[in-house]
């Protein structure tokens, strides 16, 4: 067996944590992801299958629902499924089993880097980062936007608590953008 060392998206053995003022940016590697796109004419069946999987109503436009497996809306009849990696390493397989031939499922774990932003001034940071109207985002809101020219998903977990998903291959650039915005805004 090869003796491989697991590293995070930023290349460390431990997730990177940055604090500026009241805001904390935490690299969060422990998530499994899979995307679901309903096949034509089977949108309702896909919606039901996703609903059963996450134990909640399938999220409407700009929302996320469920727990501990959650789904967030990524486009018309498309969702991303997110779950803790420890318990759901084979998430894509699980989603495919649930949706069957009603939807196309793609493994997305490790395609994305996740940064969790928490703290009082988090809205000021997000306002610098994207054109998203983040002050109108309540808990349960999810939206795709451009941050630092990267297509990212922004999820509002609770008031003052956001998750940002960006492309893992650009994790360093996204991290730089977030920390620079934190230093500027706070």
């Amino acid at each position: 067996m090869h003796d491989l060392v697991a590293i995070t998206a930023l290349g460390g053995t431990e997730p990177k944590i940055d604090r500026v003022g009241s805001v904390t940016c935490t690299e969060t590697p422990g998530v499994a992801l899979a995307s679901v796109a309903a096949r034509q004419g089977r949108e309702d069946k896909t919606r039901n299958a996703v609903s059963q999987l996450i134990g909640a109503e399938t999220p409407a436009v700009g929302k996320f629902t469920g727990g501990p497996i959650i789904a967030f809306w990524t486009g018309p009849d498309q969702w991303m499924i997110e779950a803790p990696f420890e318990t759901h390493e084979d998430l894509a397989h699980l989603v495919k089993e649930n949706t069957g031939d009603t939807a196309s499922v793609s493994e997305q774990t490790d395609a994305w880097v996740r940064f969790d932003l928490d703290g009082e001034g988090v809205l000021a940071v997000l306002e610098l980062l994207s054109s998203l109207d983040c002050r109108k985002m309540a808990a349960g809101a999810a939206s795709r936007t451009s941050i630092h020219h990267l297509g990212c998903f922004v999820l509002c977990r609770a008031s003052g608590s956001f998750s940002v998903y960006g492309p893992r291959s650009s994790a360093g650039s996204l991290h730089h953008a977030i920390v620079a915005a934190m230093k500027s805004a706070l």
Partner: protein, 95 residues
């Protein structure tokens, strides 16, 4: 300029990229007798109206949906925004 996305509401136009005339969604049948002429028309011939114009926009910095935006080229006023797939399906297209 603000584009009122039919699903996501008002979004800044910087999130979108422009493709061209909305007639581009009506790709001609390549097996038709007059395919050569039809593709010449499809690829090269455009109206250039000073006024209402239907055009394709892509929400690249958002949910990546294709939109048909009706825009006045003289005033930039946007009077209608539809999902391109709804427009195509309303015309009896399957995809």
């Amino acid at each position: 300029m603000i584009i009122h996305h039919p699903l996501l509401g008002p979004r800044d136009s910087s999130e979108f990229v422009y493709l061209g005339d909305a007639s581009l969604i009506n790709r001609p049948d390549w097996q038709a007798e007059d395919a050569t002429e039809a593709f010449y028309d499809y690829a090269y011939l455009r109206d250039n109206p000073a006024g209402e114009h239907r055009e394709l926009w892509f929400h690249e910095g958002g949910d990546r949906s294709w939109l048909v935006v009706t825009r006045n080229t003289a005033t930039h006023e946007i009077s209608k925004v539809e999902l391109a797939r709804d427009v195509a399906r309303a015309q009896g297209r399957s995809k």
